[in-house]
Amino acid sequence: MAIVAQKSKGLTDKETHYCPGCTHGIIHKLVAEVLEELDVLGETIGVAPVGCSVLAYDYFNCDMHEASHGRAPAVATGIKRVMPDKVVFTYQGDGDLASIGTAEIVHVAHRGEKITTIFVNNAIYGMTGGQMAPTTLIGQRATTAPLGRTVEHSGMPLRVSEMLATITGAVFVERVSVDTPANIRKAKKAIKEAFQCQLEGKGFSIVEVLSTCPTNWGMTPIDSLKWLQDNLIPYYPLGNFRKPGEVK
């Protein structure tokens, strides 16, 4: 009898505070499984953001550090430069990375820091109660856009992966989704490649993961996955934007 799936050793026994059906849990599991498979759990230092995943330090079974809002890449830079032999990753949401932390993520890529970022994009601010994020889609309702986001008022949603792919120091940029088992397997593969880039010292790597927020989208967990497929994926196309071989 072989075990096909079980709780990863990269996660602690603490139960997460995430809402039912929140895909943060799936993404935590993928990162934990990758760290376990690469056998680097004991060498890893993660940096938790501000947002729903602010308590991620309680859930990952590796050393963790908390950063102020949006500054996880700056904190990770410090950790990696002092301890270059450690594996350092940041885990950030879209309110954290694409809004208040835009400067930090752009410059960490620009400097080519040898860290990995897991960017969870669910197109809304979750923890604070569903406000509009830079990644909120046109027409999508949020507490700060009750009639839906408009281009005139807020511009077009920000495509972070495409933007970072224009920066030479970002050697691995990929967008994945966690809506189906097939896409979850692809997401895990991308996260593994991103960590391998770091282990080989190639430069900055980022994986953007399209995620759901059933509570603030006002849908059931199952309907949110459908909404993600119908709305988020067409605007945020999945795929790889940059691989180490392409860097000149």
Binding site: V4, A5, Q6, K7, T16, T23, I184, P221, I222, L225
Partner: protein, 71 residues
């Protein structure tokens, strides 16, 4: 003849139902006859002999509730 065995850590299940969406043999369902310690209807498998041990339910579970074994 069952090819797989699924076990649920019922008390940490949040009843989201994501595990029920991708079962190829459609045997994972929410057990509405039960309420767990968190106050949710936990997920369960009702016809274990049909299980093929693919692990899709465990892959979809955000709370790592499910362990899947294959014979």
């Amino acid at each position: 003849m069952a090819k797989g065995k699924v076990t649920f850590n019922e008390d940490i299940c949040k009843g989201c139902g994501l595990c029920t969406t991708n079962c190829p043999v459609k045997i994972v369902k929410m057990d509405t006859s039960k309420i767990n310690i968190k106050g949710f209807h936990p997920a369960a498998v009702f016809e274990m002999d049909k299980c093929i041990g693919c692990g899709n339910c465990a892959i979809m579970c955000p709370d790592s509730v499910i362990t899947v074994e294959r014979f």
